[in-house]
Amino acid sequence: MVLYWIIVLAIAVLLYVLLDGFDLGVGMLFGLARNEDDRRAMMAAVAPLWDGNETWLVVAGVVLWGAFPVVYSVLLSAFYLPMLLMLAGLILRGVAFEYRAKTQRLRWIWDAAFAGGSLVAAFMQGLTVGALVKGLPIADGRYTGGEFTWLSPFAILCGIGLCLGYSLLGACWLVKKCEGGIRDSAYRQIPPLSFGLLAFLVTVFGFALAEHLQVLQRWLERPWLFVFPAIGAAALVVLAEGVRRRRDAVPFYMVALIFLAAFGTLAISFWPYMIPFAITIDAAAAPHASLAFMFWGEGIFVFPLLLIYAAVSYRVFRGKAGAASYE
């Protein structure tokens, strides 16, 4: 039961990072767009999908609360202000999709809300992961730090890193979904973003090894775990080749693979801890009666439905998105 729910949680988080990652990334790149046509095309490339993507954040949140209540309460109370800013960013960028089309005069407000909200939300998510890796003061299942304990150069670095990563995903999505000028400029954005992300990932991994000797131990004991970083490196090579040959469909999947590899590397480094070196999966898990009740309803019946539903909506909106389709 515990294992089932940790898998569901992992799937929800991974889907959230990959899917909302690209649309937050497009939101950030939106801030760099030069003219209204480009902006409209960029919006059109994510408009039908962003809300479904964000659903995975809520799914991850409620699964965390029901199945791992200790982690839910520690994380949200420790990251009070980052969570607040993330939610505000998500709300503002979300309504911008609906409202910017309805006004001419005030469009700049919603453009700023879309790009700014995306940037803030992405930065806060990266910062949260960074601060988690660095470690939180926890005693007796409660967060004991202050309101700015999460603030550190490393956490800020991670915030910037995730913004780069999401922007890279976003650029690859634009390559996949758009044509003409947008696609060309997205192609130009991929190499610098890739190098930035790579430098960042190496730094984070190095930091984790230096900071927590336990992590180093684990990697030395199980050398086959290096398959994850190796997958990431291989994906990077294919990405470079795909960009060079202008294969529109390739980059997105390769960057997704890099994210998957980074996610796996991170998860394995800290397994079985949910909050590094403070709370393990088993210590965080809700009583069996809770997990079983969740499993026999939403777990085996509704969760697969959610996955199928997401797959269907991506199928419906496959192919290139025309700029005219979003007014």
């Binding site: 954040l57 029901g66 209540p69 109370s77 939610l87 309504v95 089309a101």
Partner: protein, 470 residues
């Protein structure tokens, strides 16, 4: 009392949940109304029902969207501000909320897509089925939320193990008798909200002498439904009072501003409760009526607040006044529904401008009744978060500072005001435009998860006239 993290968190929760509840209570009612319209359209084949359906579908989209956005915040707020509650009751409340998310999302999102795109692609009976499923989804959402809240009011089926709530009997939690009184009370409140909004819109068009045919149907259907449901709602309100009387005697005494035991008890109609002296100033009360209301008897003894330790008292003024405002709204709406239905039955309503104005101005009343009803239930539950087990002061996040809580309250207030102002503006535009004789084209950018985009198509394609009907 200074601004503590506890007080600020309570204010923030009250603000965000009050803001949120406005939207689902409306969309639950309107989803049911859409189902009814679609069924009528199928049964009679009259295109006017189809027109009204398309019109309310657009309104539904905007309101539904605002409900989703403000609901996301709720899913996180339990952890940010009430981490002790989240940690200890997660095995029960977290599970219930996760069911709410999973089931409501699966139904609403999947079938809302059919509502937007499917008209020409599916068979009529399946379209009707989809509408019903969206309505079921919104109601299911309310169902889980009411189970969750009822567990906080009258906790059952749990054991406290190492300081956390462990579920021992899910059937006792879900089939808690309190749920089956409060859930219908909330559900009917939502249906009535929908009914009065529909009737008020009809009255507004009749006063402006536009869309007369549609307006008459809206007005009549809204008022007839309300005329039938209002008494049922008052009955469930009475049952809700009975559960409070049975399980939460302190809350009951606070609602009645009854400070001392009385036999037989009088009913304070109105007054100013003063906790310092444990008396009511300027009170107008009726003897014996208190016993009659509380226990349906002429000589029952009713307990007063002073029977209980002072630290277990809820604030008295808020439950006292909000309960009376709720009841006043209920009675006013009952009269309006009955008189309006009678006049309509006699074919005299359309020319009675006073009644039309009254009906038009009635639309805020169900919202006020819902909000004040919730104030009564939630403030009356104080000082407990989980009644009798976990105090609100112990539920708040221990590490939360006044500064952080102040910032978050300000940010939420600003963001919500901002999006609410724009949302209201677009709703007003839609209502002004009215059920004009054209159908919504499946908007190319719209998806089930993006309900507000229904409006895009409507506003973006103003000049295309299609003949309504099949």
């Amino acid at each position: 009392m200074g601004l503590t993290p506890l007080l600020l968190s309570r204010l923030q929760f009250a603000f965000t949940i009050s803001f949120h509840i406005i939207f689902p209570s409306f969309s639950i009612g309107v989803a049911a109304w859409l189902t009814f319209l679609e069924a009528l359209h199928l049964a009679t084949g009259r295109s006017v029902y189809r027109l009204i359906f398309e019109f309310w579908l657009k309104i539904f989209g905007v309101v539904f969207g605002l409900g989703v956005v403000s609901g996301i915040v709720m899913a996180f707020q339990f952890g940010t501000n009430w981490s002790e509650l989240a940690r200890t009751s997660g095995p029960i409340q977290g599970v219930l909320i996760s069911y709410e998310t999973f089931t409501a999302f699966a139904l609403e999102a999947s079938f809302f897509g059919v509502l937007l795109f499917g008209r020409s692609r599916v068979r009529p009976w399946f379209y009707l089925f989809s509408t019903a499923m969206v309505a079921l989804g919104t109601s299911l959402s309310a169902f889980w939320i009411m189970i969750n809240n009822s567990w906080m009011q009258v906790p059952t089926g749990y054991a406290v193990v190492n300081g956390t709530f462990v579920p021992t009997d899910w059937a006792a939690i879900i089939f808690n008798p309190v749920v089956w009184v409060r859930f219908p009370h909330m559900l009917f409140a939502s249906y009535l909200t929908g009914a009065f909004c529909v009737a008020a819109t009809g009255a507004w068009y009749l006063l402006r002498r536009v869309f007369t045919a549609e307006a008459q149907i809206m007005l009549r259907m809204g008022l007839y439904l309300a005329a039938i449901l209002m008494p049922v709602q008052l009955f469930f309100g009475h049952l809700t009072g009975d559960y409070v009387h049975k399980y939460q005697p302190i809350k009951f005494a606070a609602i009645e501003a009854r400070w001392h035991d009385e036999q037989p008890a009088s009913e304070v109609l109105i007054g100013w409760p003063d906790p310092a002296t444990a008396t009511n100033r300027y009170a107008i009360s009726i003897p014996v009526l208190g016993s009659l209301i509380a226990s349906s008897s002429f000589d029952s003894k009713e307990v007063g607040l002073t029977d209980f330790p002072r630290q277990d008292w809820p604030p008295v003024a808020i439950p006292f006044f909000s309960f009376r405002i709720m009841v006043a709204c209920g009675v006013a709406l009952l009269l309006l529904a009955w008189v309006g239905s009678y006049l309509s039955f006699k074919q005299r309503l359309d020319r009675n401008r006073l009644m039309l104005w009254l009906t038009f101005f009635s639309f805020p009343l169900p919202f006020i009744a819902i909000l004040t009803g919730w104030f009564t239930a939630e403030v009356g539950r104080q000082p407990w978060t989980v009644y009798g087990v976990l105090r609100t002061a112990q539920a708040v996040t221990p590490s939360l500072t006044t500064q952080a809580a102040t910032i978050s309250l300000i940010v939420f207030a600003a963001v919500y005001t901002f999006i609410f102002a724009f949302g209201t503006y677009y709703l007003h535009q839609l209502l002004r435009t009215g059920p004009v004789g054209r159908l919504v084209l499946p908007p190319t950018g719209a998806v089930p998860n993006r309900p507000m985009s229904v409006v895009d198509a409507h506003l973006a394609v103003p000049q295309r006239h299609l003949v309504p009907g099949e």
